[in-house]
Amino acid sequence: MSKSIGSNFARVMIAMLLIVCALITLTPIVWLVAATLKNPDDIFHYTFFPPIRALTLDNFRDLFHLTHFGRFMVNSVFTTGATVLVQLFFSSLAGFALAKYEFKGKSAVTGLMLATLMLPASVTMAPLYDLLYHMHMVDQYAGIIVPGAVSVFGIFLFRQAIVQVPDELLQAARLDGCSEFRIYWDIVMPVSRPMIGAFCLMSFMGAWNSFLWPQIILHHDNLFTVPIGLNQLLGVYSSKYGMLMAGTLVGVLPVAALFMLLQKEFVAGLTSGAVKG
């Protein structure tokens, strides 16, 4: 849209509107940060930040001393890390096979996967619980990691990225005596770096923020992940607002940090699935 609405007045209005929207969006996050730094008595006394002398880190100290939050973080890091790595390896390997090989049953497998993509997770939760109960994986880390290792979405993402790798590159490596696994490891994976970044972030966000399934599978709080642990604290310490907000802030930091690291890849990966639409 060029000059017709590009008059200076319109430009100022658009810029102002955008700034107001951005402020509205950022306000709750600023409030969250401020709330973690206030004394329990001050939390509603000052709307945002208190004067510097009233700032305190007590909420964080309480969070890690009074509760098992440290343990929740370790549990979350472990289950999320394991889920992301396993998903990444299996999805990229299978995505490579679907993109670059012809083999028996390929179209059947693809069709079956597409069909399951359309079913919401809530359909399979009950039988999956039943299955994991009989496999003795209920109330275990494995009950979260093992069923979470399958990412049909990831396979399609990688298939789409790897299809674009030129066949000549793979053929040249074969002539040089490269085994198929080395082609995957030394050529396909390095070339797909942007997609790996995007996938890791999406997979990390999904696993880290996952609530319903851990809530169903985990019963003892020494195994709790951050989201269900925080939910438990919400019931036990309902009046310790500052501490709960500290838990919220610490709980979102890993995702935020990873996002800052992988921002570019993420936006590219997010929309790559949609553009074909």
């Binding site: 996050i29 299996f90 359909v123 399979t124 290792a149 030129p166 198929e180 989201p227 019931g235």
Partner: protein, 327 residues
């Protein structure tokens, strides 16, 4: 990724060397061709195995389970259609359906237009600081539903909460400081919708922005020559141009809306006053898992899946028809 656009790159295999290399590897040739033939099967098998056990089997099992009443994983009794009979006669189920449907309508008719509007505003060549604005609008998404639920349960607090304070400062006559966002059934749905608006507007905006940036700019210049105003440009160039991505966003965000669970569950600490925040997935969780009736959970799950599939098909049908009238 520019090299991948051209499928015939200049990187020709080194022809002079290859014959000698293959002859050197001659003793290994049979192993080499065997691993080439087996590779795809080996590569997909770990996935296929997990997919069969944790993906396909539960789907098949859930169809059977929907006709059973269970008490925990141990006791299962065939009950035929009575799970469905009970569900369709349970007022709580219909409350959940109404709440979830209302939420989905707000998502489609309020959230998506606002996301598109934001994307249109942001898609200006002259605008400085685009990356910062885009990051700002997207940032709520980094928190996820659970953490946003906890955060907003404090923001919506009666009298002291930030939402009431700001609204009361802006329009004291309209908004009371004591508006009970989370404990008055009238305000619960608005609170959920507002929170989800804050959470997802920027997320959908990213999609719309990608769509807008793919629209051919020459079309706008041609339209200017023809004297088309901004509104007609939007109607005849922008909308058709972003249609594929808009349909994608419409369908996926509708499907997402029907999965609503974490946000109200954390915001309200459960179903809320008079079940005003009860959603279908929450109903499934409460009636299936908290009571241990996995059969009933399956029945609710399948009802939701079929309902959502049906709505998605209608949406694709309608948007497809829109394409017909355009041409």
């Amino acid at each position: 990724m520019s090299a991948t656009i051209n499928p015939a790159p200049s990187k020709a295999p080194p022809d002079a060397k290859t014959p000698s290399r293959t002859t050197i590897h001659r003793p290994k040739a049979s192993w080499f061709s065997a691993q080439y033939k087996l590779a795809p099967y080996v590569f997909v098998s770990p996935f296929i195995l997990l997919f069969a056990i944790f993906g396909v089997y539960p789907i098949v099992k859930s169809i059977l389970l929907a006709f059973y009443a269970t008490n925990g994983p141990k006791n299962q009794v065939f009950v035929g259609l009575s799970n469905f009979h009970y569900m369709f006669h349970d007022p709580d189920f219909w409350t959940a359906v109404t709440n979830t449907g209302t939420f989905a309508l707000w998502s489609v008719f309020l959230q998506l237009p606002l996301s598109l509007g934001l994307a249109l505003l942001l898609n200006q060549k002259w605008l400085r600081g685009q990356n910062f604005l885009r990051l700002a609008f997207f940032s709520p998404n980094l928190l996820g539903q659970v953490f946003v639920g906890v955060l907003f349960s404090q923001l919506f607090m009666v009298h002291y909460g930030l939402v009431n304070r700001i609204l009361n400062a802006l329009a004291p006559g309209v908004f009371s400081l004591d508006t009970k966002w989370l404990s008055d059934p009238t305000y619960v749905m608005p609170a959920i919708v507002l929170t989800s608006l804050w959470l997802y507007c920027g997320f959908n905006m990213i999609y719309f922005l990608a769509g807008l940036q793919a629209v051919d700019r020459e079309l706008y210049e041609a339209a200017l020559v023809d004297g088309a105003g901004p509104w007609r440009q939007f109607l005849h160039i922008t909308l058709p141009g972003i249609k594929p991505i808009a349909v994608f966003v419409l369908v996926t965000s509708t499907i997402g809306s029907f999965q609503l669970f974490e946000l109200p569950y954390l915001l309200l600490g459960g179903a809320g006053p008079k079940n005003s925040g009860l959603t279908v997935v929450m109903y499934l969780y409460q009636n299936g898992f908290q009571t241990g009736d996995l059969g009933y959970a399956s029945a609710v799950g399948w009802t939701l899946a079929i309902g959502v599939l049906f709505i998605s098909l209608i949406q694709m049908r309608i948007t497809g028809a829109w394409k017909g009238t355009k041409g």
